[in-house]
């Protein structure tokens, strides 16, 4: 199966701030240009716009977090093994 047009639309709105602003300004018009079928266009017209904005903000924060330097996850394990093996 290929990705549903609605999943692609949601992914774009969650990751592209400009697209999200354009969508919020006129959801129906934006949806009509997004290759959605009639049922999905109708669903998008009534979607939870508050939740959409909150979800997009949450994902943006997560992406930002992932760019920060990662914890050296192996170091505590190696320290413990050294203790175990009396190294």
């Amino acid at each position: 199966m290929k990705a549903s047009a609605l999943e692609i639309l949601l992914a774009r709105l969650y990751t592209d701030e400009t697209a999200l602003k354009q969508f919020l300004a006129n959801p129906e018009e934006y949806a009509a240009q997004a290759d959605l079928d009639d049922a999905d266009i109708a669903a998008v017209k009534h979607m939870d716009l508050t939740g959409l904005q909150m979800a997009a903000a949450s994902y943006a924060a997560k992406r930002k977090q992932h760019w920060q330097p990662r914890l050296p996850i192996y170091q505590p394990l190696i320290n413990w093994l050294k203790t175990l093996w009396c190294l």
């Binding site: 199966m1 939870d48 939740g51 909150m54 914890l71 996850i73 394990l77």
Partner: protein, 304 residues
């Protein structure tokens, strides 16, 4: 080492012992506390994605850890509930880890994380439709074929009720679980947050999930965030950086009342780490909640 020495043991109506286990997610910053208190931890959950590129020396270190305490692997990036095929590359990496570590089980989320080459960077709830159920089952079967065993599947938290959904979350999860023939990793804080955010009673939502298929349980916490604009309303964000709230333990008790199978409970904590004693207290509270549920399960059948 007898790693299950602290496991909550209850006896069901037919006098069969039910050995529940309680553990914690392995995080580097918690390692010292985990190793110092390993006798109170029945199992560790290791985030698989952190180790997909692990060199063989690190895999040996993880194998040594797994020899001392049971482990379960938890994936976050496959996107098994996508309508599009999930990435084979991640499944192959999971297969390598499963082969190397021989975990009790492995798990992934019922989420989509990418669509049409757009990476969301986190777990997103897809529209809950029959079409999506069919696609998720195909992804799960593909994962099983590559990894060699079925994943346990986890319900996710979402701040948005996905549009175009024709199924409620419990029904959607049930259909995927029964269609794929695998078990459920039930995240009780995710369930709790979704229920509150969308105006339902958490225990009503719980009963719509396939409780007889729950194998592993996640416990965590979150915090309330304001809705945008001038709305006075708030929504609960599952963030893994706060303590487990009391109502989530209550959900665990209800689950333990209804489920006849052993449960493995994992405390998740991803930051804002408290003193390890605080995490041990939450592990202990989970054991208490399980015991209470097991010891009062007969009340349900008596009432029926």
């Amino acid at each position: 080492m007898e790693a299950v020495a602290g496991a909550a043991v209850a006896v069901d109506k037919h006098h069969e012992p039910i050995r529940d286990r309680v553990g914690i997610g392995w995080r580097g910053k918690l390692a010292a506390g985990i190793f110092s208190n390993i006798e109170q931890i029945d199992i560790l959950e290791v985030i698989a994605d952190d180790h997909y590129r692990a060199p063989s020396t690190m895999l040996r270190a993880l194998r040594t850890l797994a020899a001392h305490v049971p482990i379960t692997l938890h994936g976050v990036g496959m996107g098994l509930a996508s309508t599009e095929p999930a990435q084979v590359d991640r499944m192959e990496k999971m297969a390598r880890l499963v082969d190397a570590l021989q975990p009790d089980s492995w798990s992934e989320h019922l989420a989509f994380v990418r669509a049409g080459c757009i990476e969301i960077g986190h777990l997103a709830a897809p529209p809950r439709t029959a079409h999506n159920v069919e696609a998720a089952i195909a992804n799960i079967e593909r994962a099983k074929n590559l990894v060699g065993s079925y994943p346990l599947l986890e319900n996710i938290a979402t701040l948005i009720n996905p549009p175009a959904s024709s199924l409620d979350e419990g029904t959607w999860v049930s259909e995927i679980i029964s269609g794929s023939g695998t078990g459920l990793l039930l995240d009780l804080h995710n369930l709790y947050a979704n229920a509150l955010n969308f105006g339902e009673a958490p225990k009503d939502v719980l009963r719509r999930f396939p409780l007889d298929k729950v194998s592993v349980v996640h416990l965590s916490g979150g915090h309330w965030i304001p809705e945008p604009g001038n709305s006075p309303r708030m929504r609960l964000l599952d963030d893994h950086v706060h303590d487990v709230p009391a109502p989530v333990y209550s959900l665990l008790t209800t689950l333990a009342q209804h489920a006849r199978q052993p449960l493995t409970v994992i405390l998740e904590r991803d930051g804002n780490y408290p003193a390890f004693d605080s995490l041990l207290n939450q592990i202990s509270a989970a054991r208490d909640a399980l015991r209470l549920g097991r010891s009062t399960a007969h009340l349900l059948s008596d009432a029926a």
